[in-house]
C-alpha cells in the first residue's frame, strides 16, 4: 500500500505537530480520491435542489428556512464524515497509523479534517441556499457564529462515532443511526440560533444567548469526551 510522500514525525515531537501531520496526510489522500468531498458536496447540492424546487419560492417564515438549512447540513455531513475512519479500515492503513502516531493526535487531526470538510460544504451550500430560496438574512455575524460553533460540535461528536462504526460490519446506515440521537441537542440549538439570525433584527446576539451557550458548551463537552474515549475505540 502506497502511503504517499508524507513522512510522519517521530514520537518525540509535540502533539500539534503530530496532529498536523495526520491532517496533512488526510488532505493529501483525500485530494487523490476526492471520495468524501464528492459525496458530501453532491449530496448537499442535491438536497438543496429538492428544497428549492419544492418550497424555495413560497416565501415561508424564517423558522422553516432555518430548519431546512440545518437538515441539508446534517444529512450531507452524514454522507461524508464517516469516510475519515472507514477508509483507514478498508484500505488497511489503520495498523500503520496506529504505529506511527498516538491516539490523541489522530483524533485531533481527523477532527480538524472533518471540520474543514464541513466548512467547505457550508461555503458552497450557504450562498446557494440564499440564492435559491426566499430566506433572508437579518444578521450575518450571528449566522456565521452559529454556523461555526455548530459545525465544530457536529464534527467533534461525529468523528468519534465515525471511529466506532469503522469497526462494525455494516457501516453506511449505522453512522446516521448512531449520530442522530447524540447530535439532536446540537441540531435543536443550531436551528433555534439560525432562526434568530434570519428573523430577529433588534439585538439578535442577546436574543440568541441561550442557543450560543448551548452550542459552545456542547462543542466543548463532546470534544473533551471524545478525547477521553477515543483511545478505547482506536486500540485493538
Amino acid at each position: 500500500m502506497k502511503r504517499g510522500s508524507t513522512v510522519l514525525p517521530t514520537s518525540s515531537s509535540g502533539l500539534a505537530t503530530k496532529s498536523l501531520a495526520v491532517l496533512r496526510k488526510d488532505i493529501l489522500s483525500e485530494f487523490r480520491t476526492r471520495y468524501a468531498i464528492n459525496a458530501i458536496l453532491l449530496f448537499g447540492v442535491t438536497t438543496l435542489t429538492v428544497v428549492s424546487f419544492s418550497v424555495g419560492q413560497l416565501g415561508l417564515p424564517a423558522d422553516v428556512y432555518a430548519a431546512l438549512f440545518w437538515i441539508i447540513i446534517f444529512f450531507s455531513a452524514m454522507s461524508g464524515l464517516a469516510q475519515v475512519f472507514v477508509k483507514e479500515e478498508e484500505s488497511r492503513t489503520a495498523i500503520v497509523l496506529r504505529l506511527t502516531s498516538d491516539p490523541t493526535a489522530i483524533y485531533l487531526g481527523k477532527l480538524v479534517f472533518n471540520f474543514l470538510l464541513l466548512a467547505l460544504l457550508e461555503l458552497v451550500i450557504t450562498p446557494l441556499f440564499f440564492v435559491l430560496t426566499d430566506a433572508r438574512m437579518a444578521n450575518v455575524g450571528l449566522f456565521l457564529i452559529v454556523l461555526l460553533v455548530g459545525s465544530l460540535g457536529l464534527a467533534g461528536a461525529s468523528t468519534l462515532i465515525a471511529a466506532i462504526i469503522s469497526k462494525a460490519s455494516i457501516k453506511g446506515a449505522l453512522f446516521a443511526v448512531l449520530s442522530f440521537p447524540i447530535l439532536l441537542p446540537l441540531l435543536i440549538g443550531a436551528i433555534a440560533g439560525t432562526r434568530k439570525a434570519l428573523g430577529v433584527t433588534e439585538s439578535p446576539f442577546s436574543a440568541a444567548a441561550p442557543e450560543l451557550q448551548l452550542l459552545i458548551s456542547y462543542a466543548v463537552v463532546m470534544i473533551t469526551a471524545s478525547l477521553l474515549l477515543f483511545e478505547f475505540v482506536w486500540e485493538e
Binding site: K167, V177, L178, F180, L184, P185, V221, A225
Partner: protein
C-alpha cells in the same frame, strides 16, 4: 425470599390505592392518576441508563465481560421502561392536551433516550467478537450519557414546556405533595426500582451463563 413478599404487597398497595385515593392533581382530574405509574417508569428508565453507563465505565477500566453483561441487561430493561413511560405519557398528553405527541421538551428527551437505546442495540448487533462489541458499545453508552445534561437542563431553557411539574415540586422549588399522594407515589417509586433490580439480576445471570456456554463450546 422476604423482599419479594414485601414487593408484592407494595405493588398491590400501589395498584389499589392509585385508583381508590383522591387523584393527585385536582386541576387535571382523574387522568392525573397515571402519575403513580408514569413517573416511576420514567425514573427506572433513567436509573437503568445510569446503571448501564457505570457498568460500561467499569468494563473499560477492568475489561471484565461480566460488566458488559450488566450494561446490556440494564440497557434492555431501560428500553422496556422507556417505552412504557413514553406510552403512558402519550396517553396522558392525549387526555390533557388533546394530542398524543407535540414535541414538548420532556417528550423530546424521552424520544432521544429511546433512539439512544435503539442505536446501542443496533451497534451491538453490527459488531463481531465479544470483546470488540463490549468495548465499542461501552464507548457509545458513555458518549450518549454525556448528552443527558443538555437534554435535561439546557433544552427546557430553549423550548417552552407544558409538562406538569407542580405535583412533585412547586414552581419556587419547594416540596409540594399532599400526604395521600406521597403515600402512593413513594411506595410506587420504591416498588418499581426494586422490580427493576430484580429483573436486572436475572438478566445478568442469563447473559453470563450464555457467555460461559459459548466459551465452553469454543474451547
Amino acid at each position: 425470599m422476604w423482599w419479594k413478599a414485601i414487593l408484592f404487597l407494595l405493588m398491590a398497595w400501589v395498584i389499589a390505592a392509585a385508583f381508590i385515593l383522591p387523584a393527585p392533581q385536582q386541576g387535571i382530574g382523574e387522568a392525573s392518576r397515571i402519575f403513580y405509574f408514569h413517573v416511576p417508569q420514567a425514573w427506572v428508565a433513567a436509573v437503568a441508563f445510569v446503571v448501564s453507563m457505570i457498568a460500561s465505565i467499569r468494563y473499560l477500566r477492568k475489561g471484565d465481560l461480566l460488566d458488559d453483561d450488566r450494561a446490556r441487561a440494564a440497557a434492555e430493561l431501560g428500553f422496556l421502561f422507556c417505552v412504557l413511560a413514553t406510552i403512558t405519557g402519550s396517553i396522558f398528553a392525549k387526555v390533557t392536551w388533546q394530542s398524543f405527541w407535540n414535541w414538548d421538551p420532556r417528550e423530546t428527551s424521552i424520544f432521544i433516550l429511546l433512539l439512544i437505546y435503539g442505536a446501542y442495540f443496533a451497534l451491538r448487533s453490527a459488531v463481531d467478537g465479544a470483546e470488540k462489541k463490549a468495548r465499542l458499545a461501552a464507548v457509545y453508552s458513555i458518549f450518549a450519557f454525556v448528552t443527558v445534561p443538555f437534554l435535561m437542563f439546557i433544552m427546557p431553557r430553549v423550548l417552552p414546556s407544558l409538562h406538569p411539574s407542580d405535583s412533585v415540586v412547586g414552581s419556587s422549588g419547594e416540596f409540594a405533595m399532599s400526604a395521600s399522594t406521597a403515600a402512593v407515589f413513594f411506595p410506587s417509586l420504591i416498588a418499581f426500582t426494586v422490580l427493576f433490580f430484580w429483573i436486572y439480576s436475572i438478566g445478568v445471570r442469563i447473559y453470563r451463563s450464555q457467555r460461559k456456554r459459548m466459551e465452553e463450546q469454543e474451547s
